[in-house]
């Protein structure tokens, strides 16, 4: 009557195999997404060449101009050839030129990327700090004073959209009290207000998940055992419950990173922050598709790679995952 499962491979070999399969899946997904992103241009319908010229401000293009653009973008070749030509260039960072500015998309993005990276990193740190402290506080004082406040704030976060928080901040803090600027300077100090808006959008969901994981960890059997052995409530919370609850939290953080760029698009526009988000919004409004394509691909790569990184990190941190996932094959 032994329920024990034998594990034929050593732990580290299973670990490496799982990581390799994750990387393989991620590469397949990237390939699929590249088809989707490339397809945005032909899907837009109509005559692509005419739209390129329209976006450049040419109202009634001559047939010579149209032919020139067709040659420039290879629009007369079969779609499969167009895709692989596009992919080959995209892999080298060549996303063709912006319809509007006629400058290479990669330059336009590279100029604005540091501003967005700064904003997103500050927002990420803020939101991690805010939700971990709010959730631990809420569980430490479960059912008492700060707990209902934390729950209210977490609910409010989902009811007040980021752009409204931005408008409120501009209205009261910036115009009312002269704190910061309406047009943000790209600096660490200048990033605080827009980063708070971004962090606010993530804070509610993260806090709710972490709080409920912390609660169930604090009432788990290992917490009971620790209590029986005389561990204080504080020690149980910080040494036993938090590390266990942080694993699903980590996955959530990884999943939110791609959405962070979408949120950045909104917040950057509110604060006139010259990053790739607000640039992408302008490109969408003008149907400047090469820029949109590059932005979507970038956001998706961030999303896929952060998920991958978090996957590997959780596998490394939590040995249970390595055993549980590899056993069914060998029974």
């Amino acid at each position: 009557m032994s329920n024990r499962v034998s594990i034929p491979f050593s732990d580290s070999r299973i670990f490496l195999r799982l990581i390799a399969s994750r990387i393989g899946q991620a590469l397949l997904t990237v390939f699929g997404v590249s088809i989707l992103v490339w397809a945005l241009l032909p899907l837009a319908g109509g005559d692509t060449a005419e739209r390129v010229l329209q976006a450049r401000g040419v109202e009634n293009p001559s047939s010579v101009e149209i032919q020139a653009v067709r040659d420039e973008f290879g629009l007369e070749k079969p779609l499969v050839v167009q895709y692989f030509t596009w992919l080959g260039k995209a892999v080298q960072g060549d996303f063709s030129v912006s319809f509007r500015s006629r400058r290479p998309v990669v330059f336009e993005i590279a100029e604005r990327l540091p501003a967005t990276v700064l904003l997103a990193s500050v927002a990420l740190l803020m939101s991690i700090a805010m939700s971990i402290s709010a959730a631990t506080l809420s569980v430490a004082y479960y059912g008492r004073f700060p707990d209902p406040v934390v729950q209210f704030l977490a609910q409010a976060s989902s009811a007040v959209p980021a752009f409204m928080v931005g408008l409120l901040i501009l209205q009261f803090l910036v115009v009312g009290f002269g704190f910061g600027n309406v047009i943000s300077q790209v600096s660490l100090l200048g990033s605080l207000l827009p980063a708070f808006c971004l962090a606010w959008a993530l804070f509610g969901g993260w806090t709710q998940v972490l709080r409920s994981d912390l609660l169930s960890a604090a009432h788990s059997r290992y917490a009971l055992v620790a209590e029986a052995r005389g561990a204080s409530r504080r020690r149980i919370l910080w040494r036993y419950a938090l590390p266990n609850a942080l694993l699903p939290f980590l996955t959530l953080v990884g999943m939110s990173l791609g959405g962070l760029l979408g949120g950045a698009a909104i917040v950057e526009t509110v604060f006139s922050w010259n990053g790739i988000g607000s640039y992408a919004i302008q490109a969408v409004a003008a149907r400047d598709l090469p820029v949109v394509q590059a932005f979507v691909l970038l956001a998706t790569l961030v999303y896929i790679s952060s998920n991958l990184a978090v996957d590997v990190l959780t596998l490394w941190l939590d040995p249970r995952l390595r055993v549980a996932q590899s056993t069914p094959r060998f029974i």
């Binding site: 997904t29 990237v30 699929g32 997404v33 088809i35 989707l36 992103v37 945005l40 899907l43 837009a44 609910q155 989902s158 009811a159 007040v160 959209p161 980021a162 752009f163 409204m164 408008l167 409120l168 501009l170 209205q171 115009v175 791609g258 959405g259 760029l261 979408g262 949120g263 698009a265 909104i266 526009t269 509110v270 992408a280 919004i281 490109a283 969408v284 409004a285 149907r287 400047d288 598709l289 949109v292 394509q293 932005f295 979507v296 956001a299 998706t300 999303y303 896929i304």
Partner: protein
């Protein structure tokens, strides 16, 4: 189920709030003496007074009337988007789950790929393809939610197809079409409806955010997000323009969240 739903105070509050908002957007434009799009250059950017209870905007239009008319557009759009997403995904989910085989694996692969694109980014990309406009924005939001919903519905349909009542019905010789119609589809729909209610707030925020950025409703049409988007250029001189649409969005989301959370709890 009804009495269970209403036995909770916050659920009742949510329903009352929703009823209040619906009354406001249906009745007020009929009762108001102002037209939402008629400009009055003599009364630009006025604060609240006896003639315009919530003041006027940069073209002298009555803010109260525009908030109510904008609410019809915002709420109508959100319900249409979630309804369409729900219908399409329940249908697609059941079909791919029951047909199975190669179709299921191919569609599931495609869904995985689409889900790798964050949903706001996907919506932005679709607006980029279709061009700016309210209808295009709504199509974009439906498409950006569809993959996630279809995957959920597929999962629910799969587990429903293995339930004892379905197996019994199958053994009794009842055809798949009938079993799907009477046992599987209603169950999948009920579960998806709860998910959809919980997401309604998110849909409203997404549509309002993108409209705010100028990618949705176009002037002179009133819409909550678009009103905030226009108002932000005047907020130093006319802060009252921000208040009404903000409160409308806030109350709506609170109301649907209260209702959705209660539905989930009952389930």
């Amino acid at each position: 189920m009804h009495s269970e739903f209403f036995s909770n105070r916050s659920a009742v509050a949510g329903v009352i709030l929703a009823a209040f908002l619906l009354l406001f957007i249906t009745i007020l434009p009929l009762a108001s003496q102002h037209e939402p799009n008629v400009q009055n250059p003599a009364r630009k950017l006025r604060g609240p007074d006896s003639e315009n209870l919530l003041g006027t905007d940069q073209f002298g239009r009555d803010v109260l009337t525009r908030v109510a008319v904008g609410g019809r557009r915002s709420l109508g759009a959100a319900v249409a988007v979630i309804g369409l997403t729900l219908g399409l995904s329940v249908f697609a989910g059941i079909v791919i789950a029951l047909v199975g085989g190669i179709i299921d694996s191919v569609v599931s692969r495609i869904i995985e790929v689409v889900l790798a694109v964050p949903s706001v980014i996907l919506a932005l990309a679709i607006v980029g393809v279709l061009g700016v406009g309210y209808l295009n924005l709504l199509v974009a939001v439906v498409l950006s939610f569809l993959a996630y919903y279809a995957r959920l519905a597929r999962g629910y349909a799969l587990s429903a197809s293995q339930r004892p009542d379905v197996i019994t019905a199958r053994l009794a010789g009842i055809g798949w079409m009938r079993i799907t119609g009477t046992h599987i589809a209603p169950d999948v729909f009920r579960q998806m409806l709860i998910v959809a209610t919980l997401d309604l707030g998110g849909v409203i925020v997404t549509i309002a955010s993108l409209s705010f950025l100028g990618l949705g409703a176009q002037p002179p049409d009133a819409e909550w997000g678009a009103m905030l988007g226009e108002a932000r250029f005047f907020f130093t001189t006319a802060p009252h323009l921000l208040l009404a649409p903000s409160f409308a969005i806030l109350l709506t989301i609170i109301s649907v969240n209260l209702i959705g959370n209660r539905l989930k709890r009952i389930e």
